[in-house]
């Protein structure tokens, strides 16, 4: 019978596919490295891994596991089924949680005893982003602090002096300049359009503004909640002024250009607070000549307390707890990390800014500002409860301010979230 024949064929096919699966034998010297790199970035990542394997000369081998979507879901699933990848990338805000849950290895001793990759090589702020209760749980491989990109052409058109590449504005000065840059312009077809001073649409994050007022979300001790402190509220008032003074397109408007950075690229916003690795310069080489413009750089503004901070987006490589006792694993981790530092990314290593230009020649002009930004770079004080608190700060506070900047009572909301956060901490 035809049906039976078909069924038999399918069954055979299934058996073949089933047998084709090699159960990745967990040998002592075979490591799986999970990464969110995909597409072109994955091709580069695999070159690095191949290089590492070649250098290891059979002592160990590393295999890449690319997770192109829902990275942390797949990761958690793998961990929960005892299939944890040996190494994986992790963004700073999750490290304390994974450490707290005992999923990743404490690397403090190993880092301190290392000969090639010791803690003092890193910027302090960067390494701090990979700690939990003063222990190191990850090796940072990327640090991407904020700086201000500005459109020199638009500054010239309004007759505004270019800012210093190393001396920051105050936030008030930043807002004043942005106001001057908020003007009606005419496009090639003679249609009027609004040019804005900058774009704030949930980015930069709320920490940036709390720091601007001299406040913070959580104190360094990881226990005190500072969301409703006078300084943090002061910082929120800076954010509120930015949102109400018309220097940024409204929240509902920003997405009409896809995302915030496009406003800067299309010269609709004169200043953009972006990571030092944003690739405007490289992108621009592919545009028509009349669309290109000169980019200038200045560090993030100085806050009310006289300190300037640049929010630093960092990510680290962490090691599964399963490999805690395997010295070869740490060896591999170190070798890979050293290779990462030669990659296109800005390395988190102190005093090696020049490498940025070696890796990306377009960043030559930005070098002074990048150096300054790395010095003032910092992360938030992450705790295991971070996601829950941060989620409320975003959904209830920031989104509220963005959707109704004129009427939203952000002080009351900040107080409410502060109480919520204290309550979360008390649950410990």
């Amino acid at each position: 019978m035809k049906l039976k024949g078909l069924a038999l064929c399918l069954l055979t096919l299934m058996v073949i596919t089933a047998c084709g699966t090699t159960n990745s034998g967990n040998n002592e010297n075979e490591f799986i490295f999970a990464t969110w790199a995909a597409g072109e970035e994955l091709q580069e990542f695999e070159e690095i891994i191949n290089q590492v394997n070649e250098n290891a000369d059979g002592e160990y081998t590393v295999k890449a596991l690319s997770i192109p979507s829902d990275y942390y879901i797949k990761l958690a699933t793998q961990i929960s089924s005892n299939n944890a990848p040996d190494f994986f990338w992790m963004t700073q805000e999750l490290i304390s949680r994974y450490a707290n849950l005992g999923a990743i290895t404490d690397l403090t001793e190993k880092l301190e005893q290392s000969e090639q990759l010791t803690p003092d090589l890193f910027y302090d702020g960067v390494l701090a982003s990979a700690t939990y209760e003063d222990r190191y749980y990850g090796v940072p491989w990327i640090a991407n602090p904020l700086m201000i990109y500005y459109n020199k052409d638009l500054f010239d058109q309004e007759g505004i002096d270019h800012p210093s590449p190393t001396d920051p504005w105050t936030w008030d000065e930043f807002i004043e300049v942005a106001k001057e840059l908020t003007v009606i312009k005419q496009d090639g077809n003679g249609n009027d359009y609004q040019q804005f001073g900058t774009v704030v649409d949930g980015w930069p994050n709320i920490e940036t503004f709390m720091w601007a007022g001299g406040g913070d979300i959580i104190a360094e001790d990881g226990e005190d909640i500072l969301i409703d402190s006078a300084e943090s509220l002061e910082g929120l008032s800076i954010l509120n002024e930015i949102l109400t003074s018309g220097i940024t397109p409204s929240y509902a408007q920003v997405s009409s250009l896809g995302s915030n950075n496009v406003w800067f690229e299309k010269q609709r916003a004169a200043m953009f607070m972006g990571g030092i690795q944003d690739n405007f310069e490289e992108k621009m080489t592919r545009w028509e000549e009349e669309e290109q413009f000169e980019i200038g750089y200045t560090p993030m503004p100085v806050g009310q307390d006289g300190e300037a901070y640049a929010f630093n987006w960092t990510a680290s490589t962490v090691m599964s707890i399963d490999q805690a006792e395997n010295p070869l694993a740490y060896q591999a981790l170190e070798d890979i990390t050293l290779e990462f530092f030669k990659w296109k990314v800005a390395s988190p290593l102190e005093g090696q800014v020049e490498r940025v230009v070696e890796i990306d020649p377009h960043k030559e002009e930005a070098l002074e500002t990048i150096e300054q930004s790395l010095l003032i770079a910092r992360s938030a004080n992450y705790i295991p409860e971070w996601d829950v608190i941060n989620n409320r700060l975003w959904v209830d506070l920031y989104t509220g301010m963005l959707n109704a900047p004129e009427s939203f009572d952000y002080e009351a909301m900040a107080k409410e979230i502060a109480d919520f956060a204290r309550n979360e901490i008390n649950k410990r």
Binding site: L3, L6, A7, L10, L13, M14, T17, A18, G20, T21, N23, S24, W36, A37, A38, G39, E40, E41, L42, L65, S66, I67, P68, S69, D70, Y71, I73, K74, A76, T77, S80, S81, N82, N83, T91, Y193, S256, L257, G258, S259, V262, E265, K266, R268, K283, R286, W287, E288, E291
Partner: protein
């Protein structure tokens, strides 16, 4: 008679007009997809939106192929879909036939259980299911994606049961008198009568495989086993930056086989002249 045929023609014209207007609405996202695929990076987001590309920019298609082995991933997805579809359609029909045409103990309770299995969100059973499969040694394999299909799919069974129930009792009674077994009745009478319904769930089964991201993401590790959805996901990175042009080019390529299958399958939904009269 003349005025009547004129009326028919006007009706037809109105019908075509309504359908065409509706089609424009339906095609809007696809139009945007193609239009984006043909634009260079900096022409994608403009104010106001640029519906038509100013030049035909084909580089996105080349780049899409470089970033991701689309053809390989499409082949893998087809393989999974093909292995699944037979089991999912045939077994679901078999089970639906059992629920629709027989009375047995606990039937209604069992049917409620069947419906209930669709009501617990997949998100919370996903990890336990994954753990079971990986204990059984099926990590990084298509088996967990395919094998369950051979035990029927609840929503397909539900649909077909409802469909089989509408046939009159006489349908199998006369065949029984001729000495046919129930299995023979199912295969020789019900399957041919229900071609359109079976085609429908066949489409759903295929589409389910084609659009499943989370399941494939969880179970597959090796890049050479990746599917089209995992490939499409590779065009966006962790920080939310997306290569829109190449992504839309790749999405377009991935859509072509689906549309071809749809065009082929839709003819089964044409009013069946032969069979009318049997039902009711």
């Amino acid at each position: 008679m003349n005025s009547n045929s004129r009326k028919v023609r006007i009706n037809k014209a109105i019908l075509y007009l309504v359908l065409s207007l509706g089609s424009v609405l339906m095609l809007l996202p696809f139009f945007w997809m193609i239009s984006t695929a043909l634009k260079p990076d900096n022409a994608i987001f403009t104010v106001p939106i640029q519906w038509f590309p100013q030049t035909l920019y084909l580089n996105n298609f080349i780049r899409a192929m470089e970033v991701v082995p689309i053809m390989r991933y499409m082949f893998n997805t087809f393989l999974i879909a093909a292995l699944k579809i037979f089991g999912e359609v045939f077994v679901s029909a078999l089970v639906a036939y059992g629920f629709a045409r027989f009375n047995f103990k606990y039937k209604n309770i069992l049917f409620m259980v069947l419906l209930a299995t669709m009501m617990l969100p997949y998100e919370v059973t996903m990890i336990p299911t994954f753990i079971i499969w990986s204990r059984l040694g099926f990590a990084d394999s298509y088996v967990p994606l395919i094998l369950p299909a051979y035990f029927g799919s609840a929503s397909f069974i539900f649909f077909l049961r409802m469909y089989f129930q509408t046939y009159p009792k006489e349908l199998e009674e006369s065949a029984l008198i001729d000495g046919a077994s129930y299995l023979q009745i199912f295969i020789r009478i019900f399957v041919p009568l229900s071609k359109a319904a079976l085609m429908t769930i066949g489409m759903w089964s295929f589409m389910g495989t084609w659009n499943d991201l989370l399941g494939q993401l969880i179970y597959i590790n090796s890049p050479e086993k990746y599917t089209i959805q995992l490939g499409l996901a590779s065009f966006s990175n962790m920080t939310g930056e997306t290569l829109w042009g190449p992504l839309m080019a790749a999405s377009f390529i991935a859509l072509i086989p689906v549309i071809l299958i749809l065009l082929f399958a839709q003819r089964y939904f044409t009013e069946g002249v032969k069979m009318s009269g049997i039902k009711g």
